[in-house]
Structures are given as structure tokens and as C-alpha cells.
Point group: C2
Chain length 542, copies 2
């Protein structure tokens, strides 16, 4: 016996037990899909989560089994998360925006035994149920009064299921590497792959996300995750808010700017988290409707790059500081933070913005590097770009059921599939996806940089750049543009516009004006289809 520290496994239920013990009456406010504004608190939600756990044990659920949710952000969804993982099972969040075939695929692949669903999704689930091979129990997240008069499904009523269940049964005693959650990537190629989070990875990720340069949460924070719980764990807010004892505000099924604005002002939200699309809508709404954003002082934005103009508008019009975050489902999801450093803080506003539009530096717990195709390390000069590799305790080690085989390299690095630069101040900036980058004569061309430049051309509504085979250079860029309604766009006009805006050798070899461009279920350009369609395209010889 040589002296030890205590054995205290990092388990997800410790987060909500902490909140219930030290912040029992801190509020959890939810707009529900039944239409009410529901007020609860950490102690009540913890006790109800214990009732969920007890009910699941009563249904014969075993540790390690997957139970799915199809639900908006709300107190009941949080109770399910903690209740499921707290009794040792795995909370599988299904993204309702996926194609129906994908939803069926992942529910069957995960072998979900129970499906918790919000009223909103009842028609969808009734339609899909005949194809869900493993779901035995459907639980409607509502009370008796809102249960449908008739349904093709044998539905359990959530409130009835948990009513009378004990609140004092202990949580599951598990090793911290036990699985706690499951989320599938919305891959653009092949079937979605599952990332199974462990108790340990979720707790460590939450502790890191609480730090000042990420969420900076305290017991006096009022935090609103607009990002949905079915989208990469709502960036861990249901966990971080519990760890910090913060007040939690959720808009349920509502994503419209007036409702979000009203809730932010009414509940004195000081940190709200959402993807850029949500904020674009909000800023447009505020411009005409006015009324401001109440006590909001910070917003954390991720999911796609934050436009410079958005950061400026938040600063100048609303006094709201934007912190850009980057991550992915495979990273729980957080990897970087764009928070200020002494170096960026000392810059003039315009120069500082050059850094704030970047995705930022690694959080403690995330190792990050960029390498070329041969695996050689690239310099942090902000110019050279390479494959972005990550390593850390909340980074995926293998996909669920081993899909995709070995996904780490010999040194344990996971290839994010992104191409990025890192500058001398340590700020990482995404340049492209590695499958989309155009490899021309041993050098890489960013399809995204070309697209961003091309959408500035007069009359262009949308642009896509793909690489097409080239006998001498290997690949050369082909630009596809869709014109705005009524506008006329020509190859020559676009090329003339680009000339001088990108490196000469980046200029597309051809420009095609098309009527439509294909997209994935979640709105991303479907470049696989474009590459297939244009792989025999003959580039004009100059």
C-alpha cells in the first residue's frame, strides 16, 4: 500500500447529482411541443431522471443496451439522457432531419430497444415503425392529456411510466469506460457511422468545455443551447450546465427568431449556442423588429465557419461577443476555441477579426496537427494546409460495431477529414474537406476558398468546385455556378471576376452554369454526386 487517491469513476450521473446537491433550485426552463412554458430545476429533473432509470429497469433494459430519443431540447429529453445512461444503458440521439431510410438504418444498426419521442415526431415514427426491427417500446414524451386518441403504435405515456417510480435508487455502478451515449454521423458517403461516447469521455469533455475560453460557465450563467440535443450532444450543454450549476433555457421545437429572441430576453440568457444559419436569421429579424438581445453577452457558434460580418454585427449592434468553436460528432464534439489571446487582444479590431474568423486553438485535452499526404508534419505558418489530425480522450477510437475498421493511424491520430492551416499564434483554420480539395501537380487547392470567391461574382447564387481528372496536373478545378433568378451569368464574366482574387494557378479550368446543385439531407453540397456526374468532363485547353 503506497498511498493512493480515491477511486471515483467519471460517470455522467455525477454531473446531475452535483447540480442537484449544490444547485437544487437553479431553473431549467423549456418551451415544449405541447405549447407550454415549463419551469423545473436540477433537483426535480435529477429525481425524475432517477424515475426514468427505475422504469427502464422495470422494462428489463440491461446495461450497455441502446435506447433512442427523437426529441427536441427540453427537460424531459434531459431526464431521458441522464436516466438512460444513469442506469447503464446508452442514450442514442436520432437526428430527425436525416432521410427516413437513414433513420431506419441507424435505429436497426444500433438495435434500439426503446424509442422516446416527442409528439412532433409521432407521424414520422408511425410511418417508420414497421421497419424498426428491434424497438419494443415506444414512449411518448408527454402526459396523459396529450396522448393521441388513437395510434397504430402501442404507446407508453412518459409521465405515467415514471409516476410512482422511486427516486432514491442508486445510479448504476459502472467502470468509467462504459458507454453512455451514441450519435451517428451524417456521412455524405456510405451509411452513417455511430460514435459511442463513454461516461469518461462525456465527463472530461464537459469539464474542458466549462473552462473560461470555451463556455466559461458559472453558477450565475444562464445558458441556452439552440443547437439541438440530437446534433452532437447539443455541444455538451446538458452536461456542462449541470457541472457548473447554471440555469438552462431550451426552446424545444422553436427555431424562429421572434420566439428565440423573446426567450433570451425573458430568461436573461447570457450565453446562447447555435450554428451560423440560426444567427443569420436572428440578425435579419433584429434589423427590422428591433428589441435587442437582453442580457446576452456571449454566443458560441460552431457547425460551420462564422462569417466575419456576423462577428462584426454582434459586436457593434448588440455588444455580444462571438466565440467560434469547431468540432465534430467524432469529437463529442468540441475541439477548438477561437477565444482571444493576449496577442489577438492587442491587435486593432480589423486585424483581430482575421483571427476571430478562424476556428481557433486546441482546448486542453485535444491534440491537433496538420500533415501532408505522406504524413509529414506541416509548419504552423497560417499558409501551408494539410490534413487535420486529432487525438484526445473525447475523440473517437473506433466506430460503433467497428464500422470502418481501424480509423486511427499508427500513433493514434484520427483523421478529421478536414484540411486546415495553423498559424503562428496557434489558430487553426479549416480550408476544405480532404475529399474535396483539388490536388493539382502536388499542390492543394481549396474548393471552399474558390466557392467563397465565386459567390461574390455578379448574379451567382451558389457555387460548387470539384476536381476533375487532368492528364498533366492530376486534377484541375471545375466550377459549377447556379445563377440568381433572372440573372445571366457567363463563364467569362466569372473568370474575369476571379482573376486577381485567387492565386493564378487556382483559377478554375472551366466554369459551367447549371440549373440546380445537389444537396444532402442536412443541406451540404453533395460533391460525390457532382464528381460522378462530371468525371468525364473535358476541360478546355487554354
Amino acid at each position: 500500500m503506497f498511498g493512493t487517491m480515491q477511486d471515483w469513476p467519471l460517470l455522467v450521473w455525477r454531473l446531475i447529482d452535483h447540480a442537484a446537491a449544490w444547485h437544487p433550485r437553479r431553473e431549467i426552463v423549456s418551451l415544449t411541443c405541447e405549447g407550454d412554458e415549463h419551469r423545473s430545476d436540477w433537483l426535480t429533473v435529477r429525481d425524475r431522471a432517477r424515475q426514468v432509470a427505475a422504469a427502464l429497469r422495470g422494462l428489463g433494459i440491461q446495461p450497455g443496451e441502446r435506447l433512442a430519443t427523437l426529441a427536441w431540447n427540453s427537460y424531459r429529453h434531459i431526464e431521458c439522457w441522464y436516466g438512460i445512461s444513469g442506469m447503464g444503458a446508452v442514450a442514442h440521439t436520432i437526428n430527425p432531419r436525416l432521410f427516413e431510410d437513414q433513420i431506419v438504418y441507424i435505429a436497426n444498426h444500433a438495435e434500439d430497444r426503446v424509442l422516446f419521442l416527442d409528439l412532433t415526431f409521432l407521424p414520422l415514427v408511425e410511418r417508420l415503425a414497421p421497419r424498426l426491427q428491434t424497438v419494443e417500446t415506444y414512449v411518448l414524451l408527454t402526459d396523459r392529456a396529450h396522448m393521441p386518441a388513437a395510434s397504430g403504435l402501442d404507446l407508453l405515456c412518459y409521465e405515467e411510466m415514471i409516476a410512482g417510480q422511486p427516486v432514491d435508487q442508486p445510479w448504476a455502478d459502472l467502470p468509467e469506460t462504459a458507454p453512455a451515449g451514441l450519435c451517428y454521423t451524417s456521412g455524405t458517403t456510405g451509411n452513417p457511422k455511430g460514435v459511442q461516447y463513454s461516461h469518461r469521455s462525456n465527463v472530461l469533455h464537459a469539464m474542458a468545455a466549462c473552462m473560461t475560453d470555451t463556455f466559461g460557465l458559472s453558477a450565475t450563467s444562464v445558458v441556452m443551447p439552440i443547437v439541438p440535443m440530437y446534433h452532437a450532444n447539443a455541444w455538451s450543454v446538458p452536461y456542462t450546465a449541470a457541472a457548473a450549476g447554471a440555469k438552462l433555457v431550451m426552446a424545444g421545437p422553436h427555431f424562429d427568431p421572434p420566439t428565440l429572441q423573446r426567450l433570451i430576453i425573458q430568461e436573461k440568457v447570457d450565453l446562447a449556442l447555435a450554428v451560423p444559419t440560426i444567427w443569420l436569421g436572428m440578425l435579419q429579424h433584429l434589423e427590422t423588429a428591433g428589441g435587442g438581445l437582453g442580457a446576452l453577452t456571449r454566443t458560441a457558434i460552431g457547425g460551420s465557419a462564422v462569417p466575419r460580418s456576423m462577428i462584426e454585427q454582434f459586436d457593434r449592434l448588440y455588444g455580444v461577443r462571438v466565440v467560434q468553436l469547431w468540432g465534430m460528432t467524432e469529437m463529442s464534439p468540441l475541439g477548438t476555441t477561437g477565444a482571444a489571446t493576449p496577442e489577438t487582444r492587442a491587435m486593432g479590431y480589423s486585424e483581430e477579426l482575421n483571427y476571430r474568423v478562424k476556428q481557433g486553438r486546441g482546448m486542453f485535452g485535444v491534440e491537433m496537427r496538420i500533415v501532408d499526404d505522406a504524413g509529414a508534419l506541416l509548419p504552423h505558418d497560417g499558409e501551408r494546409f494539410g490534413r487535420l489530425m486529432v487525438r484526445g480522450p473525447w475523440v473517437v477510437g473506433s466506430y460503433f460495431k467497428g464500422d470502418g475498421g481501424d480509423i486511427l493511424d499508427g500513433e493514434g491520430w484520427f483523421d478529421t477529414g478536414d484540411v486546415a492551416t495553423i498559424d503562428r499564434l496557434g489558430f487553426m483554420q479549416l480550408v476544405d474537406r480532404s475529399k474535396d480539395v483539388i490536388k493539382s501537380g502536388g499542390e492543394w487547392i481549396s474548393s471552399i476558398a474558390l466557392e467563397n470567391a465565386a459567390v461574390g461574382a455578379p448574379g451567382v447564387a451558389e457555387a460548387a468546385v470539384i476536381g476533375v481528372p487532368h492528364p498533366r496536373w492530376g486534377e484541375r478545378p471545375l466550377l459549377l455556378v447556379r445563377a440568381r433568378d433572372g440573372a445571366t451569368v457567363t463563364r467569362k464574366a466569372v473568370l474575369d471576376f476571379l482573376d486577381g482574387k485567387v492565386a493564378r494557378w487556382w483559377l478554375p479550368d472551366d466554369v459551367l452554369v447549371v440549373d440546380t446543385l445537389p444537396h444532402t439531407a442536412t443541406g451540404k453540397l453533395l460533391k460525390t454526386e457532382l464528381r460522378e456526374r462530371y468525371r468525364d468532363h473535358v476541360l478546355p485547353t487554354p
Copy 2:
């Protein structure tokens, strides 16, 4: 293969590797005992720590062995910490303020093979060396120019030892439960006992300490640990500053207010950490010298209770927010934070102060409860007090070499030896040490509360309260007072003063005026000796 997250052990060297990767040029400023003001940065200190590790491997040091430091806060001490634990050995910080016999005892008990020492401590070490049974190598933390012309010891020069050592050898690959540090308690009874920190406990503790309601460290922070690294890990600042990428400022051997003030202002320190005694001196100095505290906005204070007047002075005169922390060597050391909650923030200033003088609520990772002598849970009413029990991943599980035997109860709780209340807002307040509390007729009387009241009596310089045996009540309080120079204090005057200030049944049964009171090496009242001295004292019958 069911899908995993990465295996990434929580190792202390990851903290400084993180700082070196993303905050390489963030400064580390040290006043040294050689008299210079030294400027370094995280990358340089990391590389030199790697050289320390290489040099130690060259000396034949094996993982798990203990190497001691007797040093002030400085970049070299930090290099030693990371270098020692980074090669798998255990960094044992020795408190130079202990009695010499205690220093000899703990160095022998720890079986320290190497002793790193600052110049300041050379006379001490030369005196003790003949009694140090296991130390093979003495390393003086200085360069050739400052090496003594002659010494009874065979001294290595630190700068020469690391010069030319490689900086690119990998750190030790260890399980996260491997030991990283060792610190002995300055127990008032028996021999000091060692607390051996693991890599895991140090990293988790640092992550929690970084959170907003504890240190709230960011990359833009400038943090100055005045609390020494030999005192409970300098409250983890050498770890937390690395995790956050903060600038680190250290005053080395200097604890005088003018030097601390100058450094705080010059380096734009925004968070400084120290025990109340240091700040008492600083506030007195500022009152006459003026000049303020520069960019300081927050101070974290622990080690003993923070006087209400100190919080008020910092607020009103300097705009510095005091956050009270509580912990102990056995807790790495942090356990609670007195940071604001929405409830305290909504109070008037005076009412809020009633909470800010308390030690605060548990951090995430620290479970805490109060129980009576029978182990029954006591209510959180702010009135009832009981034994304070803690549990968590950075709480000791057993002392080094098993000293003291099983120290956890059947449910894994560690008895802090403190007696405390917890109020309905979750704020814990220390009432007494459990060995000092007076147990009178089944009820507990706080010796500290009586002492605090008694020192308010006219002419009283110091007060000590102990329990003495009583045939009917078990124990009753005896108050010992030392008078101020020239003052006359009487039993009756003190009892009259106390009447109405404490509960009637708390009133001491006797008051003795004494010439001196005994203290420990670190200045605490030595109540064991007083109890021994007065155990046959016959209390007057009323």
C-alpha cells in the same frame, strides 16, 4: 469491438505539452533568490523540463521513486515538477517552514533519492544532510556563477546538469493512476503523513480548478501564486496555468508587500492567490504607501477563514473581488469555492457578505456532507454542525505507505477533521476542528467561535478554548487568554464581555489568563499541549 473513445491517460506532462503547443511564448516571470527578474515562457520551460527528465534518467532514477524539492516559486521549480513527474518519478515538495526534525523525518520516510534546493536553503540542508539517509544527489537550483566556493556537500549545479540534455525524448508512458507528487501534512499530532497525488488526480483537479467559479483562468489571464509550491501544490496553479495557457508570475523568496505590489502592477497580474496573512500585510501596506494593485481584479484566498473586513476592503478600496476557497493537502488541495450564485448576487451587499465569509459550495468532483458522531446526515440549515466528510477523485484514499491505516469509512468518505455547517444555499462554513470541538451534554460547542468572540474583549491579544472533563456534561469549555502588553485582563471582565455574544450554555466555565500560548511550526495553536496541560483543571462550580 463495440465502438470506443480514445485511450488517453490523464498525465501531468500533457498540461505543459498543451501550453508549449498552443501558448509557446506566453510568459513565465520569476523573481529568483539570486536576485534577478527572470523571463521565460511555456515552450522554454517545457523543453528544460524535458532536459531535467533526461538528466534524471541519466542518474538512474526509476519511475515511482521520490525526488524532493526545497524551493521557492520559480521557473526552475516548475521545470523540476514537470521533469520529475514527466519521467515517472514523484515530485516531493518539502515545506522549509517545518521543524528541522520533521524535515528529516519526511525526507527519510519518503526515501528521497535526489534533493533539489534553492540557494536560500543551502545552510539548512548542509546542517541536515548527515541525517538524510537516502539522498544521494543534491542539486542546487542555480547556475555556475552562483555556486558556492565551498560546501560540505557534493553539489550538482542545476544549469550544468541539464545543459546539453536532449529536449525531444518522449515523456514517460504511464498509467494515469501512477504517482506524480507527494506532500506531507503538517499534522499537529504524531508524525507528518504523506499524500501521494496521482497523475490522474492532479489533472482532474487542475481541470476543475480552471472552471469559472474557481480560478476562471483563460489564455488572457495573468496569474500569480503567492501561495508557495511547497504548500499544497501552490493550489495547483503550476498545472492550471498550463492548462489554460495563462501567463504565470512568481515572486520567488519575496513575500513582502512592496515587492508583491510592484510585481502585480508591473506584470499586470489579474488573479493573485494567497493566504489571509499575506493580504493583511498587503492591505496595511497599501493604506500607507498607496499605489493600488494595478490590473488585479480577483484574488483567491484560502488556508484559513477570510475576515469579513478583508473582503470589504478589497471591494471598496481596490475593486478586487475576493473568492474564498477551502481545501486541504489531502484534497490536492481544493474542495469548495465561495463564488457568487444568483441567490447571493441578488442580496444586498451586507447580506451577501454573510455568505462570502463562508468557505462555499463543492466544486464539481468534490462530494461533501456533514454527519453527527453516529454518522447520521445532518440537515443543510446553516445551524447544525457536524463532521465534514468528502469524497472525490482528488481526495486521498490512503496515506503514503499506508500510514494511519484505513482512513475512509465504509462508503468511501474521508473525514476532513473539520466541523462545519452547510446552509440551504449550499455554502459550507467551517466551525471548528473535530478534535477541538467541545462536546457538552451531546451538543457541540465551537472552540473557534468562542475564541473569535473572546479576542474582541478589551485587552485580549490571543485566546484558546479547550474542552476539559466535566462529570455531568462530559466536557465543558475552558478559555485561556493572553493579554496585550500592559493590559490587565480578568476572568470576570471576559465573561461579562462574552455574555450575550454567544449562546448562554456555550459560556466558558472558567477563564485563565496566561503569559504564553503554545504554537506549531506553522503558527497554529497547539491545543494538544493545552489539553494535556489542563486535563486535570478543576472547573469552578457555579
